[in-house]
Structure formats: C-alpha cells, structure tokens
C-alpha cells in the first residue's frame, strides 16, 4: 500500500475524488431497485393492517374476500401458526440490573391473538394485481375488541397501565445500568455546582425515499428460495429469516438486495413482510411481490430515537466535570426490532463521557414497550441521543458556572496526549484531537464575530443565536467478542473476496452494502491504490448472498473501517501470493520481492514484473512454482475489528428567530469532523451534508407524534415535516483528521457524524437566540409554535420586547 503517513494522491486512488461509478446508471434511469424487478407470473401481496393500537382479534372471516376477483390466497396469523413459522427474532439480548434477561415477546409475522400497534399486520392478501388484493382486503370481516393502549412511555409505566405484553410487567423490557454508582454519588457529594437537564429525544421516522419492497421467489426443481429485498444487509436477512423464521438452510436461500434507495437504519432490520412473501412464494409456487406505500411505511418502518432523559452533572469550582448521572427511558415500541435493545444502551450510554474527562459516570436505561411501531436504529443510533444530552447539558453547565461555553468545553476536553483514553463507561478511545476540530470550526464559522451579527440582526427585528457541539461517537461496528459480551447474537466482522482476473482486472465482492454511500467508487479507489491497477479496472459487487461469501452489511458507519479493512487483508494475501509467483519468475528469493505502484520488483535491481503479468501467470501456470503455490489469484478475508472507531468533531450552527411568528431560520452551518482516513473527499462531504441535514431535520422539523390512543398523527408527508431544499442552507464542511490506530486504513467512518453532531448545535443556537427570555432548554423539534409560545410567555413575564414589535 502507498505510504499512509505521507500520502501521494494517485488518479483514482486514495484521496482523489473520481466521479462515481454508479452515477451513470442512476442518472439515466437504469438503476435496478427492488420494485423495478418483476418475476414471471408474479402475484401481488397486500397486508391488511390493524387500524387500532391494541386489541384482541376475536375473529377473521376470509370467505367473502377469498371469493373476490383475482384473489390467489389469503393468510392470517392462524395459518402462520399452523405452518410452524417462527417469529421475527431480536439480534441482541440484554440483562437487567438484577441479572434477569430482557423480556423478549414473540413477534409473529402475522398477528396472533392480539394486535399491538396501528400497522400490525393481520392478514396477507395475495392476488393477481395489487388493486385486486386491496379490494379483497376490504372484504375481510375482522372483529377486533379494542383494548386500552399506551403510546407514550410515561403513560406506559404509570400504575395500572394497559400491558402491551402480559409477560412484561409495567411494560418494562429491561432495566439496565452501566458505570460506578458509588463513585458518582461520591463525586456529587463534593460538587461545587450541579447542572441538571431534562430532555426528550424526539421520535423520528427514517423515510428513505425508496419505500421498502420484497419479492419472494421459489424454484421447485432446486428447492431454492430467493428473496429480493430493500436491505442494507442481505446476509443478515438470510441468517435471521432462514435460521429463525422459515427454517431454510443457507444453501437453499438466496437474498438479493439490489440498488437500494437509502436506508438510514430503517432497512437493517428483518421485517415480517420479507418472511411472508418468501414463505408464500414457496407455498403457492409462484413469485409474490410486495411494495410498501409511503403511508404504510410510516406505520411499519422501524422508527428512531424516542428517549426521555434526566441528567445531572457535578462540577468543581474550576468548571471541571466531576461526575455524571443519567437516567433514560427508551421506547421499544410494540415488539423488539432487530437491534432495538442495543440502541439506548451499548450504542448510547457507553458514550456518556463524550469528549470530556468526567471521571465518574453512571447511566440507567429502562426500555419500555408501547403500542407503537417498533423503534430501532436510525442514522446515528444511540449516539445522537447521548450527544444531544451531553452537549445541551454542557451549555447548561456553562450557564450554571457563569463560564463561557467554549471555555468550559476546553477545560474538560480529553487532551490529545491522554490517548488512548479509557472512559469510565467501557470504551477505550484510540485517537482524537478535539482542540483541532474546535479551533478550525470556530474559525470557519467566525464564532468570535458573532456578537456583531447578533446586533445587526436585532436591528432587523430578529433574534440571532449561535451554538456548537463538540462530539465524539463510536462506530465501525464492531469487535465480535466485545459485541458478544454486550449481548449481540451475531459476529460483526466483515468479509471481502478480491478476485484478480487473468488480465489483471479485479472484481471485489464485499459483504457491506451500498445504498447511497458510493461503495462502487470508494472501494474501487482503495483497490486501485493498493494493487496499483487503474480505478477503471476494478468492479465492486455487493448485495447478493449467491455472489458474496458472507457479510454483515452496512450500518454503524462500518463499511470502510471494517469492510475496507477486510479488503486490505484480502489484498495483502493477493500481494503475498503475487510475490511468490514473481520470485519464481525472476529467480529471486521471496523476501527480496517488494510490491509498489503495481509492480513486483527484486529489491535493489531493475528487474520487475507488472501486476498484470503476475495475474496472467497465476491463471496460465506454465512457468510456475506449482509445488508451493496454487494457481489462480483470488483471496478472501474476514476482518474482525480490534476496537470501535471514534470519529468526532465540532459543529457550529447559526439561526435567526422571527419573534413575531417563532419561525427559526437556519442561517449557517459548519461541520469540522475527524473521521480518520478519507478515501474520496467528494463523497465524504456528501455524507456530511446529508447527515447534517437529517440532524437539522430532527432539531427543527421532524416529529413522529402519537395521540393517547396510539394513532400516528404525523402519518404522512402532509404532516411529518421532511427537510426540503428551502429549509437548508449550504453547509460548510471541513475535516481535521487523526488516524484510527487499530485498523489498516486509519479510517473511522463518516456515515453518521452529520446526524450525531448537528442537533445539539442547532438547539444550542436556538437557546442562545432566546437568551434574553430566560430559556435554558428547548426540546426538539424547535417548531415555530413552540418558539412562539416561549417568546409569548417571556413577553408576558416581562422579558424585553423586540424593537420591531
């Protein structure tokens, strides 16, 4: 590999920004998404879903529906039970403080006995067309006895609340903790001051633009099942669905995730529809296709966030943080989705140190069942929740101490010479430089010139505010042994198969999955750089269990740090083998062969063989060390990371509030992130733009709202506010990278930093804009109505009126 400490950027190599390989097909309408696929003779599935949040299924009469035109089959939970089909499994098992395992209720693929949320599937209707299936679904006679529902966590944990699952007393799934309670109590006993905050991390709906879809297919002669699905991790779906739900062995089950139109976490999980169409296709011996509609996605795609937290921070007289205690309730929804238990715990509470040297930390998490859509990982998954909490709390702490917001952060930063740094909550950070990202971000955002801009805004009758967040996150998921100890039921390594063809072109098969990240480009750059072949000679293949040896997919910003590292390992094997072949051809010792810039050279001579010459020799082994080396040049590697990776950085946001209407206008946003090695700066910037926009969406616009009966009030794009082009401004992006010390690339990951770092920067700016109104916290989203209410209350309480009013 090229020397990483002094990178020379070669065309199409690491650090270059070649235009994306995948773009031509997407731009010309040639993308191949799941719904673009049609199988000969396919029928169409439509799921009849519960429109009440909680109820007992008394009876389902399918007689009339089954007689409707075009109907092929109708299945209910009873049919599923009779067929012996398992429930959709959860991938993590946690234990409560008392050692008892979490309550893990079965999640049947069609509701059995009870419905538990609006959207819970009651029946699958399969017909010749989708419209016919819908017509028939309307003819189903379903008698449901409605039960009282709990849609909000406080209501769910109140005495006498209705139970979502009888097995979960008090609707508690688990009651978990981390850290040293006694040490924290001791720290608080000596505190000079204590800062306190209550925050709600608003529930979000991921809304990738491509709705989910699934096609089940079955080949009777081979007995092979195929599922085409909108997934971020086809092998994980094969594992979960094959082993746990349908009992189909891997060699008879192929899962294809073709082009996927965005995931953001929502397409990690194994959903009931995938199992239902796969099963039905075999039963009916014809392909069955299901395409989700947007309104259906709102009530079936796993939601994100939805935490309620109380936190307290003990401080010394000099502003040093002494101890942190945090109590969180996390909504699981009605069933445990694949990753759900890990989100508020191992992906969240383990980051409570943030970028600070807080020596004592104690966190408690209660996971709560409610009659709502299951909640699981959404871009950032747990880290945005902790980052929002910490970075808001630090601003409150600064106010409490009478300190500058920047000064209190600097006072508590983990210094660069303290790395590697062991936090009190399990993680060992390997690298970071918080002062560097802070300083650069403040410079770009002109933090120091803000007060003049605020004064100018006041002249125009506007309230201007600035806010920052200095964050750190853990991704590159995950060292399998650590994850296993934390409750993961799978390994979290990654797999790469590097196939060098006889002419020296290369196909890379990766177990990660690209659904917008541009892997076909970035991974090709990595291979071009390491093997010294032209960027154009590298093809990247993903998304098909029949082609790729294995893989755990793409989430947790893991593709480059883990998947790329697997590729490096596979290429190391290719190079090692190539050296043996080259040594034979040039009659030199293997140890005397060096590989650089695509050439195998005998050290200290001008004798060399090109990579292509070695490749052809490997496949035409006429003059070949056949006793020691097999023919061919095709290597597979599994890479299990040694640690998480720890990207971090500083985000600064500037807003203006119209005090008459409460409208918060985004003025400027700057993100300077430390993401380790950058392969393609263009793609990295794009990832930050998108992540930041989702964070701004969470902070200002997006909110999934249920009423007390469990009806989703924000159930369409007419009521759920997605960020649009005119809500967002151009985003200034910079990188100040330190290298990850434990993977061969030095890469940390960039997929989620934008969504993790940005929400508290936005809200800190909003709170700053309202500094004259005695406001210390504003919950997300900072809607116009919410801000107007605060200003209005402030005016009524005697706060200064704006000149313009």
């Amino acid at each position: 590999m090229n020397d990483m400490s002094n990178p020379v950027i070669i065309k199409g190599g690491i650090g270059d920004s070649p235009k994306r390989t995948e773009d031509h097909r997407f731009l010309s309408g040639k993308g191949r998404y799941t719904d673009d696929i049609n199988r000969p003779g396919q029928a169409y599935a439509y799921f009849k879903r519960s429109d009440v949040a909680h109820g007992v299924i008394k009876s389902i009469d399918t007689t009339a529906a089954a007689a409707m035109p075009g109907v092929v089959a109708i299945y209910t939970g009873e049919d599923i039970a009779k067929a012996g089909i398992g429930g959709v499994p959860c991938g993590w098992q946690l234990h409560s403080k008392d050692g008892s395992p979490m309550v893990e209720p079965p999640h049947p693929i069609l509701a059995q006995g009870k419905v538990r949320y609006v959207g819970d599937a009651i029946a699958m209707v399969i017909a010749e067309t989708t419209e016919q299936a819908k017509d028939a679904a309307e003819a189903l006679v379903i008698d449901i006895e409605t039960l009282p529902a709990v849609s909000e966590m406080r209501a769910a944990t109140a005495p006498g609340a209705a139970l979502v699952h009888d097995a979960a007393a008090g609707n508690i799934c688990f009651d978990w903790h981390i850290g040293d309670k006694a040490a924290v109590d001791a720290a608080f006993a000596t505190a000079f001051k204590i800062a306190k905050i209550d925050v709600v991390n608003n529930r979000l709906i991921p809304n990738p633009m491509e709705p989910r879809a699934a096609i089940g297919d079955f080949d009777q002669s081979s007995g092979e099942h195929t599922l085409y699905t909108t997934s971020q991790n086809p092998h994980v779906i094969r594992l979960l669905m094959g082993a746990f739900v349908l009992q189909i062995p891997e060699h008879k089950l192929r899962v294809v995730a073709p082009d996927v139109g965005g995931g953001f976490g929502a397409k990690i999980f194994h959903y009931i529809e995938e199992a239902a169409v796969t099963w039905a296709a075999a039963k009916l011996n014809r392909p069955v296709k299901w395409t989700c509609e947007r309104g259906e996605a709102f009530i079936t795609d796993a939601h994100g966030r939805d935490h309620i937290t109380h936190a307290e921070l003990a401080m010394a007289e000099d502003g040093k943080f002494l101890g942190l205690r945090v109590n969180t309730m996390a909504n699981m929804g009605a069933y445990l989705s694949t990753f759900a238990p890990s989100v508020p715990t191992y992906l969240s509470a383990t980051l409570l140190a943030g970028v600070y040297t807080t020596p004592a930390i104690y966190g408690e998490v209660k996971a709560i069942f409610t009659n709502t859509v299951p909640v699981d990982a959404y871009r950032g998954a747990g880290r945005p929740e902790t980052t929002f909490l910490l970075e808001r709390l630090v601003d409150v702490a600064a106010k409490e101490m009478g300190m500058d917001r920047v000064a209190i952060r600097r006072r508590n930063f983990i210094p660069i010479d303290a790395y590697p740094y062991q936090t009190p909550v399990a993680l060992m950070y390997d690298s970071g430089n918080h002062e560097a990202t802070l300083a650069r971000c403040m410079e770009i955002a002109d933090w120091n010139g803000f007060e003049a801009r605020r004064a100018a805004a006041a002249q125009r009758g506007k309230l201007r505010g600035i806010g920052m967040s200095t964050y750190l996150e853990a991704c590159g998921i995950a060292p399998s042994a650590v994850a296993g100890a934390l409750g993961a039921r799978a390994g979290l390594y990654e797999v790469a198969n590097v196939r060098v063809h006889p002419t020296g072109s290369v196909t890379v098969f990766t177990g990660t999955h690209s659904h917008g990240q541009g892997h076909e480009t970035t991974f090709a750059q990595l291979v071009a750089d390491q093997l010294g072949v032209p960027f154009e000679s590298v093809e990247v293949v993903h998304g098909d269990t029949a082609k790729i040896p294995f893989g755990m997919g793409t989430y947790g910003s893991r593709s480059l740090a883990v998947g790329g590292s697997a590729m490096v390992k596979a290429m190391d094997k290719i190079i090692a083998k190539g050296k043996k072949i080259a040594a034979h051809l040039m009659e030199a010792a293997v140890d005397d062969i060096e590989f650089k810039d695509g050439k195998f050279t005998v050290t200290g001579t001008d004798k060399s063989k090109s990579f292509a010459e070695i490749a052809i020799t490997a496949y035409v082994p006429h003059n070949y060390p056949i006793e020691e080396v097999e023919p061919g040049l095709d290597e597979t590697a599994f890479y299990d990371p040694k640690n998480f990776t720890y990207p971090g950085g500083c985000h600064i946001c500037e807003v203006e509030i119209d005090p008459e209407t409460g409208v918060v206008q985004l003025i400027a946003f700057t993100a300077v992130d430390d993401i380790g090695r950058v392969i393609n700066p263009m793609i990295v910037h794009g990832q930050v733009h998108g992540g930041v926009t989702q964070g701004i969406g969470q902070a200002l616009l997006e909110h999934a709202i249920y009423d007390e009966t469990g009806q989703l009030l924000s159930g369409s794009l007419m009521d759920y506010t997605m960020p649009r082009a005119d809500n967002i401004v151009n985003i200034h992006v910079g990188t100040e990278s330190t290298m990850c010390t434990h993977n061969p690339l030095g890469a940390k990951g960039v997929g989620e930093v934008g969504a993790i770092g940005s929400p508290p920067a936005v809200i800190n700016a909003v709170v700053d804009a309202l500094r004259d109104y005695g406001v210390t916290h504003v919950d997300m989203p900072a809607t116009a109505q919410k801000i107007w209410s605060i200003i209005n209350a402030g005016i009524n309480a005697g706060a200064p009126r704006m000149a313009a009013e």
Partner: protein, 264 residues
Amino acid sequence: MYDFEYHKPGAIDDAVKALGADAEAKALAGGMTFIPVLKQRLAKPSAVVDLAGLGLTGIRREGNALVIKAMTTHREVAMSSEVASAIPALAELASNIGDRQVRYRGTIGGSLANNDPSACYPSAVLALGATIVTSRRRIAAADYFQGMFTTALEPDELITEVSFPIPEKAAYAKFPNPASRYAMVGVFVAKTAAGARVAVTGAGNDGVFRHAAMEAALDQSFTADALKDVTTPESLMNGDIHAGTAYRAHLVGVMARRAVMACK
C-alpha cells in the same frame, strides 16, 4: 384506487349531462387534490368527468373585472401579465400554491370547487368579492363558500369562470404548514370600492371566513398599525399538531399586518 368510467366531454353541456346522469360521477379538473383522494380510496366515484376538453382556460380583463376561466392553471395565473397588472396579489398568491408541478396542473376552478379549508384561492375570492360563474348561474362569493369542503355548487354544476372586481390594492400573506406547505394561516387583504376586506384561510374551523373586526379597523385607517389591537377569537380557530388555536389566532394577526404592509 377504485376503478371508474372515464369521460372527457368536449362541451360544457355534455359534461353537465354526464354529471347529472350519474349521482356518483365526479368532475376532474387539475386533479391535484382529487387524484390523491382517489389513490387513498377515500372516494369511490362511478365515473370521472375530465374537464380538460372544455376550452375553459384563459384570462381576460372585462371592464373593472379580471375574469379567469375555471381550468386556468395556477402557473398561468402566476405568470400572466394581465393578472400582474390588474391584481398582482392574485399572481403572487398563485405563485405560492403547492409546488411547481402542482402549479402546472392545478386549476382555480378545481381549487374553488373543492374548497379545502387550507387552500389559498378561497381567501382571494372572498376578500375581493368575486363572482363564481357556473354552467347555470352567477354566485356571489359570500354565498358560495358554505364551510369546509362545502360550496353552493350542485352536483351537476360546473364553475366556468371567476370574475374578480379589481381592488384599489391588495395582498396575500401565507404562513405555510411546514410539512404539507398548504396555508396554515393565509390572509388576503384588499382595499376595495366597498371598503376594506380581510379574508382568512387555513385557520378557521369552518373554512374560509371574513374578519369583520379587522375590516372595521382598516376602514378607519388602512394601516398595519390599525390592526395592532384587533384579536381573533380562538374559538373560531382550527387546531392541529402544527398549530394550536392560540397560535393560529396570533398568526392571523401577524399575517394580516404583513399583508396590509405588502398591499399594492
């Protein structure tokens, strides 16, 4: 969507006949609201009568009135020099309805026949005292709107054009719903020969309405200041997850003042 019979008549009489012959038949104008309603299976018409073949597009000046035919699109109104010179507020209003694609197909007649409580056009029609001309009569704006999604139209009656008296000056101020971009509060203010007129859309719990207290205040002095102490009863307001009744009532005042300031 449920299936239906599709008719595309070439004359108004034929369209009226098609609608009259079948109580379950519905007219299709731009379809920007109607087709989504059909897609959600919220309506089950036996037949859909497409009005696109009736030649009902065009904008003309008729004395002191601006006449817009029913199938004229929002974009045509927004881009019309005739509208810009006669009632610029109307062009401005049309240029902010929905999005570009909606404006290319959505029509003034369709909007008025549907009378969505958060549509923009009803406020202009009511504030300007426009006349709705139909296939059988002329209806004064005051008589036309009868609460949300309800109008004076008979099932087989079609709007053919809308005649707007040209005001001295007018303006429309809209506070969009952040998600749907429909009017959460829209206020159309006009200074007309008959006095000041203020019509509010999006906010009321029974559709578009005239704001008598504001009109009285503006008749005294047509300035934003005159509205400073005029309140809007919360009891008349609609409330939802985006804006409660108190906030909507407040926004009616803000938008009205901004409209007065923007009048031209």
